[in-house]
Symmetry: none
Subunit: 228 residues, 2 copies
């Protein structure tokens, strides 16, 4: 299911939130301050961020602005959390780009409900250009590969190869077909080059526990499939 990033400087609060969210089936990652959050965003791809208004050093507001300005993270909805329930704050928070606002103290139940609502809202039925198979998600717009919110680093050629295979999952292709489709018909490269790229992809996927998705079809070529 979805991955939620909690950014709050109080470990206790984080623990409470984590408990409530994990109980509902979410995956939770935490950051104690803005810098840690920024760092985490390099390797993770949360579907939603729960951001405390007050953070040591820079405020959460500032972090929110940054996230919304960065094209990579812009699409990720943010829920601001704050002890100050003032109307003014609420407005400022939403102006910054936050997608919702929760005032402390809040009931875990309310929070879970809001998280669900925001996720539902931010993910309109209109399928964005994503494919998800076997727990692996590839997004050709943001050009990213993720598994359970964890980002998987993939070089450009490997990305195109993976994207093509996932777009035609369950179907076996010869090396020659893959070269035509992924490299282009004009380009001449050795067929064995495909093998090497498959190898690199497999390595990358294995590091996040995704195994056996890129299958060898002996005498033919390769196939992407989540079935054994």
């Amino acid at each position: 299911m979805a991955t939620i990033l909690i950014v709050d400087d109080e470990p206790d609060i984080r623990e409470v939130i984590r408990f409530a969210l994990e109980g509902t089936g979410f995956r939770v990652i935490e950051a104690g301050h803005a810098d840690e959050a920024r760092k985490l965003m390099q390797s993770e791809e949360p579907d939603l961020i729960l951001l405390d208004w007050m953070l040591p050093g820079r405020s959460g507001l500032e972090l929110a602005q940054q996230l919304k300005q960065n094209p990579k993270s812009r699409g990720i909805p943010i829920i601001m959390v704050s002890a100050r329930g003032e109307e003014e704050d609420r407005i400022r928070g939403l102006e910054t780009g936050a997608d919702d606002y929760i005032a402390k103290p809040f009931s875990p139940r309310e929070m879970v409900a809001r998280v669900n609502a925001v996720l539902r809202r931010s993910r309109p039925e209109g399928p964005t250009d994503q494919i998800e198979i076997g727990g692996l998600r590839i997004d050709s717009v943001s050009h990213r590969v993720t598994a359970q919110g964890q980002r998987i680093e993939v070089a450009p050629t490997e990305f195109r190869l993976l994207h093509f295979l996932m777009s035609h999952a369950e179907r076996a292709f010869t090396r020659s077909q893959l070269l035509d489709q992924v490299w282009g018909e004009q380009i001449y490269v050795e067929e064995r080059t495909v093998d090497v790229h498959v190898r690199r992809l497999r390595k990358a996927l294995e590091e996040t526990g995704h195994d056996n998705l890129l299958q060898t079809v002996r005498g033919v070529g390769y196939r992407f499939s989540d079935k054994p």
Copy 2:
């Protein structure tokens, strides 16, 4: 790449869409009203239609209905575009047979993403080319042999042999015919080689409880059949 037909009465809108789509590599053709669209459909074969809800004369909804009724154009996916973002419209549009729905104003990026998504969804229904006889299934696209969902490992030559025999079930072939069909007429191998491959196939099938599908026709050769 794919061809997209835009049907909209506002040239400006068409221009915006054309620009976004052509930038992504699509070929674009345009129509300013329903009649022009119908005429274009005679000579062109778009892969997808972007159809404005409101058109002078007859509404886009009507055109969509017509297109979906005509067997020639039925298979072409339609995305309805509308300024009216009402839930009701969305439902009516989809009921008519539209494959997706975009509300104005939309970002070009979102539109491209939707176009891609719809194309992906509607296209891959390629003929799966499966044969199933006696509980045994062979799929020449994914290159797989299964029985009750259980995969059966088969080497390339055995795959081709089994595929040929299953494609012509109930029919007996001599070893010589099989060699011609499966190995190729140019290749010379001993006729007894066929026996060995049949043997290997039988072994593989037996392991999943499928017995007696590859039948010996004494004095002739072999036959695939689910009847005893």
